[in-house]
Symmetry: C2
Subunit: 480 residues, 2 copies
């Protein structure tokens, strides 16, 4: 076979040792927090039935699903279908045009059912809902689960957007208590604090958006309204007001909205003044915000240090949210990424689509790949992260000294010290070059003399210091 | 939308919290050993181009690849192709039969290129070879990498065989030293020892198999020979000898083989006597076995405690192995799984298919899912593995006592103790039921009295003991 130049599918990436260590650093940090807050791990399969996935992410989402060809003679049933048309039509005089018409079945959507019934996981929320429904009788509710797995979307790849990327989700289902929201806010705070990423948590409530559409007199245009509100960061409040006007929002309320929105400190008092007391749904939303603020004050005192702000324009495309809505953005001017690195909210009927109604859930998500990019840009990865775990490399001059290293190597590993021996008979310079390239901190060098004296010349490859060590002394030195 | 009963694609599985904890226990144990031996992590994408995958796993492998439909109008080019045939043919009198013939393009293989150019990762070795070739200029050789990721095969699902399963591989490329084999043998030993799975490591060398085919006078039937040898465990040595006879192995050598094979302790001396001194390739194979035995003796002494045996019939379908061949089986009669839980070997030209010849590599693989099944069957998982990490759950009677718990909950978490509060206002019995179902060890109960005295009634849910504790006392108690 002729050698081929290998490539990767677009939008996908390899992660070499240094990358994986950094990614693991993020994943481990987030996972540690999830566990500390009592969340339990779940993993779902990479492939889901299309019946599980389709129709859950909107029309756009359906287009972005990666579909898997059925195995075996995957086009057989399609061919049989077409053969049948051909044979039916062959007895027909007006053949060609009508066949061509029926063979439209070959086009995208219609043909899919013949050749594909599985797709790649698109997010972690729908598989979680499916899991909850399938295992409802084994699960102890409220169910606090976290899930850290890749998802796939056939999006146009661009900076910061990949076709394979990881989500880290924490959700609670089976409880409508706002204490869950409190936990999730604290998880965001603690995880990003551990990662040293300065953030802003934006908070809103779907009920306020519903109330807002009432106030504007455009309840029938809720989605249009939220699409416009979602653009506030990009186009500014004045342009947003103009657009809201164009879809029929009443002018009085718009003027009030513009004022309230620009207040440096939007308090409950402002909100209550803004929404009329007859606006029941908005009132519920305000109550929820008050409750969460109360919880935060009990924990952090009145000088709440949490970087959380209420953003009346936050909608996150609404999707399935029914209560709280969260979004996390980086709060550092040096950061080029303006979009969110996390988000979530409460959904009151996610499992309903799979036949289990009235289960309230609330959850948040961390976007690993964006967090990675932010940490690279802001240089936030700890310096001590190295590609290899090796602490000591044994170097030698010939077969005899190589053999001499082996028992010491075993003793180091038995002591829990990551160590290796340079496997080939190469010049010492080559061996140390390898050690330096991998940033291995210590080289234990064995020559004729060392072997006779039952020691190693141990070189600290960072400082250049050298000393003669027995195996035990070496273990003490490195184990420090 | 009507509620649908969700299902999973066949051969795939959800892993609930308890399952994930067990799987993580295995993965972490293996990873700890990989790292201690100086292996570095690599992760490759789930999707690979079909050009990378096809032709690498034999004809059977190609059939088992999961193929991904191109996104967008994935059948458009296929339709254009067919429309062209139809329009060409519509000017032709002898229409129908010939069209039907050309539409054979719709059948499996031929049509694939129109609709799919990506597939799911089938193993970790080919993506690793691809990675090495693509990154050859950045990699420091010898390159010691480990990789723990799922792979997918459209195999018929059955007990112990899944369509999505995990492999854990460690490979060294760019070194032909047998010290690498030594490391890999020790890794197998140490990892399975940590997991408490009694194993037998079978070892053989491709060069002995080549030598054997010479000895039998059936060099041209090497593959047939190894297929027969691979059946030894199943059909026994006598039946194997019969089958070898039927493909032309010479009788003298077969008789000798039968004797040698059944020796309780196959030594180098036996092997040298068995293979004629003119059998150069066999001689090389024996030398390699001798060398590895020598290394093991230097480390473990002459009473080598390692559970490794030379098995002259071990071939593992040969695949791409050129030197050492390894296989690990469970050495416990109670275990129903008779097939291997790990395997590997040396390959001298794996990167050659991607244009980088003469790079020697050697590697081993652990099969996570089979190891899991074995550990379940032999009851080897540590008893203390629990689904949740939570150590303390706060229970309460009303909104006031709920609020009272919050600062204490925060203090516990700040002290690194995994803790949660029951989020809803339910009866204490319900709350403790939840705690017991999740095997949470401690409940910190806050009633009116506790709140007044600034304490919690802490109940050990395993022993039933109860005591009154301040938050600090609770932290000390649980942190023990």
């Amino acid at each position: 076979m002729a050698a081929q130049k290998p490539t990767l599918p677009k939008g996908t990436r390899d992660f070499g040792p240094a990358d994986v260590q950094k990614r693991k650093y993020i994943l481990n940090t987030i996972e540690t927090v999830f566990k500390k807050y009592g969340f339990m791990p779940l993993e779902t399969p990479t492939m889901e039935n299309l019946s599980t996935l389709e129709g859950k992410y909107g029309e756009e989402g359906d287009k972005l699903l990666f579909r898997i060809l059925d195995s075996g003679d995957y086009l057989k049933s399609l061919k049989e279908h077409n053969d049948k048309i051909l044979s039916d039509e062959s007895q027909d005089a007006t053949f060609a045009p009508s066949v061509s018409g029926k063979l439209i079945d070959l086009e995208a959507k219609a043909a899919t059912k013949f050749i594909s019934e599985k797709g790649l996981r698109y997010d972690l929320t729908v598989p979680f809902a499916r899991y909850v429904v399938m295992h409802r009788n084994e699960i102890t509710f409220p169910f606090r689960r976290y899930q850290m797995q890749p998802v796939w979307r056939a999006d146009r790849p661009q900076k910061g957007r990949y076709r394979e990327f990881w989500q880290c989700d924490a959700d609670v289902v089976g409880s409508d208590s706002l204490l869950n929201e409190l936990d999730l806010i604290q998880i965001y705070d603690e995880a990003f604090d551990s990662l040293k990423i300065p953030i802003q948590i934006k908070y809103n409530n779907r009920k306020l958006l519903d109330g807002l559409s009432q106030l504007f007199g455009i309840e029938d245009k809720l989605i249009d309204m939220t699409v416009i509100l979602d653009k506030t960061d990009k186009i500014g409040i004045d342009a947003v007001v103009e657009e809201l006007k164009s879809i029929g929002a009443n002018l009085d309320s718009l003027a009030k909205f513009q004022t309230v929105f620009q207040l440096p400190n939007l308090t409950t008092k402002h909100l209550n003044e803004f929404f009329s007391s007859s606006n029941e749904i908005a009132k519920k939303g305000v109550d929820e915000i008050v409750k969460i603020a109360e919880y935060l004050e009990v924990i952090y005192g009145s000088n709440n240090r949490l970087p959380i702000t209420h953003d009346l324009a936050l909608a996150r495309g609404l999707s399935y949210y029914t209560g709280s809505i969260f979004e996390v953005v980086v709060n550092d001017d040096r950061c080029s990424l303006k979009s969110s690195i996390g988000g979530g909210g409460r959904y009151d009927n996610l499992t309903g689509i799979f036949g289990l109604p009235n289960v309230s859930g609330v959850g948040i998500s961390f976007g690993l790949d964006r967090i990675y990019d932010v940490m690279e840009e802001l240089k936030l990865f700890p310096e001590q992260l190295r590609a290899t775990s090796t602490q000591v490399i044994f170097c030698h001059f010939d077969e005899a000294t190589q053999l001499y290293c082996l028992p010491a190597l075993k003793l180091l590993r038995d002591a829990g010290i990551a160590a290796e021996i340079f496997p080939d008979n190469k010049k010492l310079g080559k061996q140390l070059e390898y050690a330096n390239a991998l940033q291995i901190p210590f080289a234990a060098i064995a020559g004729e003399t060392e072997m006779q004296q039952q020691v190693f010349t141990v070189k600290n490859l960072i400082t250049g210091e050298q000393q003669s060590c027995s195996t035990q002394a070496l273990i003490s030195l490195v184990g420090q």
